[in-house]
């Protein structure tokens, strides 16, 4: 797995390969089961969880219904507090903007705190092409970056790596990026964390530019919030002279008070903690404390297209806690890479096709990457009905219909792969409407039983590759009914 999502195969092919990787499955099973039980315990501590969850969903829905209002309010508040607000329609524009802002500082290196938005737009590659080196400072992101790998989980991007793999990556790669791994590094998590501390310390202390995302942006006050554990976030947010935050437009919440809901929902859903070790909030710039230049880049990149879908827009409530990944039986077996985007698991299966459109084979396959068991909906702290959206997107894939792409309404054609299925259904409908033809067909099928193949030819091959074809009986039900009913009626003297 190397560092790009371009040209990723559709989910079934990628998942088929991943499920054969025994080590990957063991790593995922261990990690997801650990966190599952802890999350349940953390949630059970609050007897008003249902009310908090409903409020979280309602606050996000209010925001989305009036997103233009809240974005303008946010922009005004951030600007009044000394920040500079930029807007980016898509990934290319956001990357060009950030590259320009970094260049204007004259720096060639930046430190980054983990951000889904910058993963989504491929910022690190764009900066590298401009000769700017971006250092990931979240431990799991560091593991991914050093390993030349892709993230596979929203919260723990290196969840597919176990401790001994991480030790091997540190020993092999750290020297190429800065301070080498300590001599005799073992695979104990404490020693690995210590190695990351030493490796990154130099970067933090000399960094002039920091790049972040944000978990929340408060419209009324212009405050940004970053929730984290390690302190790398605090380092990136306070030590550099310039801070650039790239944030999706759906991350806005209306009021300061709204944080009381999300700061209870997020840590318990995410790391199963009452509260994560560090939360930083900042409003523009503060004289003498932290970066004196602050840029906020507001990112669309498909979000307004998702917003236009009245069923699918609930995906934009997501606060990136990753609880849905940790409970998903499909994610547990297929792993994060099979989803072909930084957003894996159930939320990725509804977010990626909406952000990118369902035109590509990967995106069209994602709504099927689910058994519709509903566990994701149960644990979602903002009550996103993921199964509902999955079914809705499947309908779009199969039947086509109106969608918004790049801000324009277009009508999608039905998926090609489903033409054979629709033709078969039409033929079946005709046959059931014509009893004579059905009878003839059934008798013909019964008489040619020995000649039937084990696998269907042509377009039916994929369907029958994983299913046994039903055996055609020697006699059709209709013929059997006619024969036996006549006989039994005669035996019972016509009393039936």
């Amino acid at each position: 797995m190397s560092g790009t999502y371009l040209g990723m195969p559709a989910f079934p092919r990628a998942a088929a390969a991943a499920t054969r990787d025994g080590r990957l499955r063991a790593n995922l099973t261990h990690a997801t089961h650990t966190i599952r039980d802890k999350r349940a315990a953390a949630v059970a501590e609050l007897d008003d969880w249902a009310e908090l969850r409903a409020a979280g969903a309602a606050v996000k829905d209010r925001t989305l219904r009036h997103l233009d209002h809240y974005l303008e309010q946010l922009e005004a508040a951030v600007t009044a507090a000394g920040g500079q607000v930029h807007w980016a329609v898509d990934a290319d524009e956001a990357n060009a903007l950030v590259t320009r802002l970094v260049r204007e500082t004259g720096e060639r290196e930046v430190v980054k705190v983990k951000s889904m938005a910058t993963q989504e737009i491929g910022l690190n590659d764009a900066l590298a092409r401009a000769g700017i080196r971006a250092y990931e400072t979240d431990l799991a992101e560091l593991i991914v970056q050093l390993g030349g790998d892709l993230p596979s989980h929203i919260l723990v991007p290196a969840i597919h790596r176990n401790r001994s793999e991480i030790r091997d990556i540190f020993r092999r790669e750290m020297a190429g990026w800065g301070r080498p791994a300590p001599e005799g590094l073992s695979d104990s998590p404490a020693e690995l964390a210590e190695a990351a501390r030493l490796h990154l310390r130099e970067k933090f202390l000399s960094a002039k530019v920091g790049i972040s995302g944000a978990n929340f942006m408060v419209a009324e006050t212009g405050t940004l919030v970053v929730v984290e554990s390690e302190g790398n976030g605090r380092m990136c947010l306070t030590l550099p002279e310039t801070l650039i935050s790239v944030v999706g437009i759906e991350k806005v919440v209306p009021s300061w008070q709204d944080l009381e809901v999300f700061l209870q929902l997020l840590p318990r859903s995410s790391t199963a903690e009452r509260m994560n070790p560090y939360t930083s909030t900042w409003t523009g710039t503060t004289d003498g404390d932290g970066p004196q230049t602050f840029h906020l880049v507001l990112l669309d990149n498909g979000r307004t297209d998702a917003l236009a879908d009245t069923v699918g827009r609930q995906a934009l409530r997501c606060i990136r806690c990753s609880a849905c990944l940790n409970v998903c039986p499909v994610y547990e077996r297929a792993g994060g890479h099979a989803y072909g985007s930084p957003y894996p698991g159930p939320i990725g299966a509804i977010l990626t096709p909406q952000l990118r459109g369902i035109g590509g084979p990967l995106e069209a396959s994602l709504p099927y990457a689910s058994s519709l068991c509903g566990a994701c909906y149960e644990v979602c702290p903002v009550a996103i009905d993921i199964p509902e959206v999955l079914v809705h997107l499947r309908e779009r894939v199969v039947q086509g219909g109106p969608v918004t792409r790049g801000g324009a309404r277009v009508v999608l054609k039905p998926a090609k792969g489903h033409a054979a299925e629709r033709a078969a259904m039409r033929a079946a409908a005709w046959a059931f409407d014509h009893p004579g033809a059905l009878r003839t067909g059934e008798r013909l099928a019964a008489r040619t039983r020995r000649l039937h193949p084990r696998r269907l030819p042509g377009p039916g091959r994929a369907w029958s590759a994983t299913r046994d074809l039903p055996e055609v009986p020697a006699e059709s039900f209709r013929d059997w009914w006619q024969r036996t009913r006549r006989t039994s009626a005669a035996q019972q003297g016509g009393s039936g």
Binding site: R163, N232, L298, D300
Partner: protein, 215 residues
């Protein structure tokens, strides 16, 4: 058209189903969750704070105003600290019981200079019992955000019960959004290796909290 106009126009087109004239606050938000979980006396709230701080590996001590300088002196000595960072408005009497070198929080100090300091001593703005959280707001006895970040040992004094609230909903109204806030719940930690929590990454690896009564 600027990108700003493009994005806002797309948002408005996407929301064609929202009735024109609906005000943002008309979209209902029921806040029927609890302001605080359970009923506790003031002492019980302080006790819960102590428990939850300790649960996330903070070292918790209790003191009175009279005994505070000696306690601080002892904790810094046990740590082997020779230098201690102090914010500008820290009560000078707190360090009366220790003879180590005081390093003032100066705007001109480089991160490397801060990295060479052994400990930092601060107050806080609010402490939250239910979550075991200390909130710093950059007040005179807390200083710039970076001074509680770079040194490896943070000693934080919480005035009880007046600085303690029960819950997150009770904390937010006491905090000013325009000040940079740092919420601290235990020493720095990570769950990034096999989703298991390990203490001690980039922030202070030792967090000591003194619950100061009767000040």
């Amino acid at each position: 058209m600027s990108s700003r106009d493009v994005v806002l126009a797309r948002v408005r087109r996407a929301l064609a189903d929202v009735p024109r004239g609906e005000r943002p606050d008309e979209a209902p938000v029921a806040r029927d969750y609890r302001r605080v979980h359970g009923s506790r006396t003031t002492e019980q709230t302080v006790e819960l704070l102590a428990e939850n701080l300790a649960d996330y590996r903070a070292l918790v001590h209790r003191s009175t105003a009279g005994a505070l300088p000696e306690l601080i002196g002892r904790l810094l000595a046990e740590r082997g600290a020779r230098t201690v960072l102090v914010p500008p408005g820290l009560d000078a009497s707190w360090l009366a019981g220790s003879d180590l070198t005081r390093v003032e929080d100066r705007a001109s100090a480089t991160p490397r200079e801060l990295d060479a300091v052994d400990s930092v001593l601060t107050g806080c703005a609010v402490a939250i019992a239910e979550t075991g959280t200390l909130v710093l707001d950059g007040g005179p006895d807390q200083g710039r955000r970076r001074i509680t970040l770079v040194p490896d040992h943070h000693l934080c004094v919480v005035r009880v019960p007046e600085q303690v609230v029960g819950s997150v909903p009770q904390a937010l109204p006491r905090l000013a959004p325009d000040r940079p806030l740092t919420w601290i719940s235990g020493p720095s930690a990570t769950s990034d290796i096999e989703l298991d929590r390990v203490e001690g990454v980039h922030g202070p690896r030792t967090l000591e909290v003194i619950l100061l009564a009767g000040s």
